[in-house]
């Protein structure tokens, strides 16, 4: 695996987790299942749970326990007000970045075509 891809993925994990939870509360297994569908990110439970614990500790997430049909109680994660603000800022930054990078790439492509 190329180093830059690994670094990019690490940076995007928190962003993706917060975005999954911006659609409403969810429990660990459900979050992992949702993120595993993004194959490019190669997300697994050993990367998701430590980030969930850290985000909860930093005040971006809150947790409530609810009985599960089988096994221990499920822990449902949801965004706090701080978490909602964080995901909004991250999404705005992502859109700006995407827009700027697209503009650079289009310029490069058109200048490449002209030469």
């Amino acid at each position: 695996m190329r180093q830059w891809i690994t670094q990019l993925r690490k940076g995007l994990l928190e962003f993706c987790i917060l975005n999954v939870l911006s659609n409403g509360e969810s429990y660990g297994y459900q979050i992992v299942q949702r993120l595993e569908t993004v194959e490019e990110l190669a997300i697994t439970e050993s990367t998701v749970y430590p980030i969930l614990a850290r985000l909860r500790k930093d005040g971006y997430l809150k947790v409530r326990s609810s009985p599960s049909p089988g096994g221990p109680p499920r822990r449902y994660f949801s965004l706090t007000a701080l978490g909602r603000r964080r995901v909004r800022e991250m999404n705005e930054y992502w859109d700006d970045l995407n827009h700027s990078i697209d503009a650079i790439r289009q310029n490069e492509t058109s200048s490449g075509d002209n030469s």
């Binding site: 429990y27 660990g28 297994y29 697994t44 050993s46 749970y49 430590p50 089988g70 221990p72 499920r74």
Partner: protein, 185 residues
């Protein structure tokens, strides 16, 4: 949902191995990760096998999950190690020190005044003891406030910082009230 004892033992073994690789993580984060992983395994078992999961189902679930080594390096190198009793990360230590300074800032001045009253001779000794006690108390509470603010993300750090802040505020109000009373009398 029915789980046999062997399945529950298998889950516990996997979680213990993961916990041994998480020794360097703060204890509260490690406990959360283990609780979430435990729920994850039961949810994965339920979605795979329905009401009567077998040992083979558990093995299949665990083989699809990340190996315990993915959670970090073990301190002892023993993959069968039991979960560590407590974490000793630097942030946790700082919070504990903040709490110790805050408590010492209450107890030590009281002991100092009591010692002055018991062993000192006359009012002068008590007054000197009170002077030292107040100074010591303020220094320790200021120390607790600084350490507590430095470890604010930790529960003990937060409690110590708030406690020290309230005590310093109370001491200042008491001091001003005393000065005002002296001026009036």
């Amino acid at each position: 949902m029915n789980y046999s004892r062997k399945i529950e033992e298998g889950i516990s073994r996997y979680l213990e191995k993961v916990a041994s690789y998480l020794r360097e993580a703060p204890s509260d984060e490690r406990d959360e990760i283990i609780r979430d992983l435990q729920s994850h395994i039961y949810d994965a078992l339920a979605s795979r096998s329905g009401a009567e999961p077998t040992l083979a189902d558990l093995e299949a679930v665990l083989s699809e999950m990340d190996p315990p080594e993915s959670y970090g390096p073990p301190v002892s190198g023993d993959t069968d190690a039991h979960p560590a009793p407590t974490a000793t990360g630097p942030t946790r230590s700082l919070g504990s020190w903040a709490m110790a300074a805050m408590i010492a800032g209450i107890i030590l001045p009281i002991l100092l005044v009591a010692a002055g009253a018991i062993f000192g001779r006359g009012m002068n000794a008590v007054q000197i003891a009170v002077g030292f006690a107040v100074t010591l108390g303020i220094i320790l509470e200021l120390l607790a406030l600084i350490l507590g603010l430095m470890s604010w993300c930790e529960k003990t750090g937060k409690v110590a910082a708030i406690g020290a802040g309230v005590l310093i505020l109370m001491a200042m109000l008491f001091g001003f009230a005393l000065l005002w009373w002296y001026e009036l009398s």
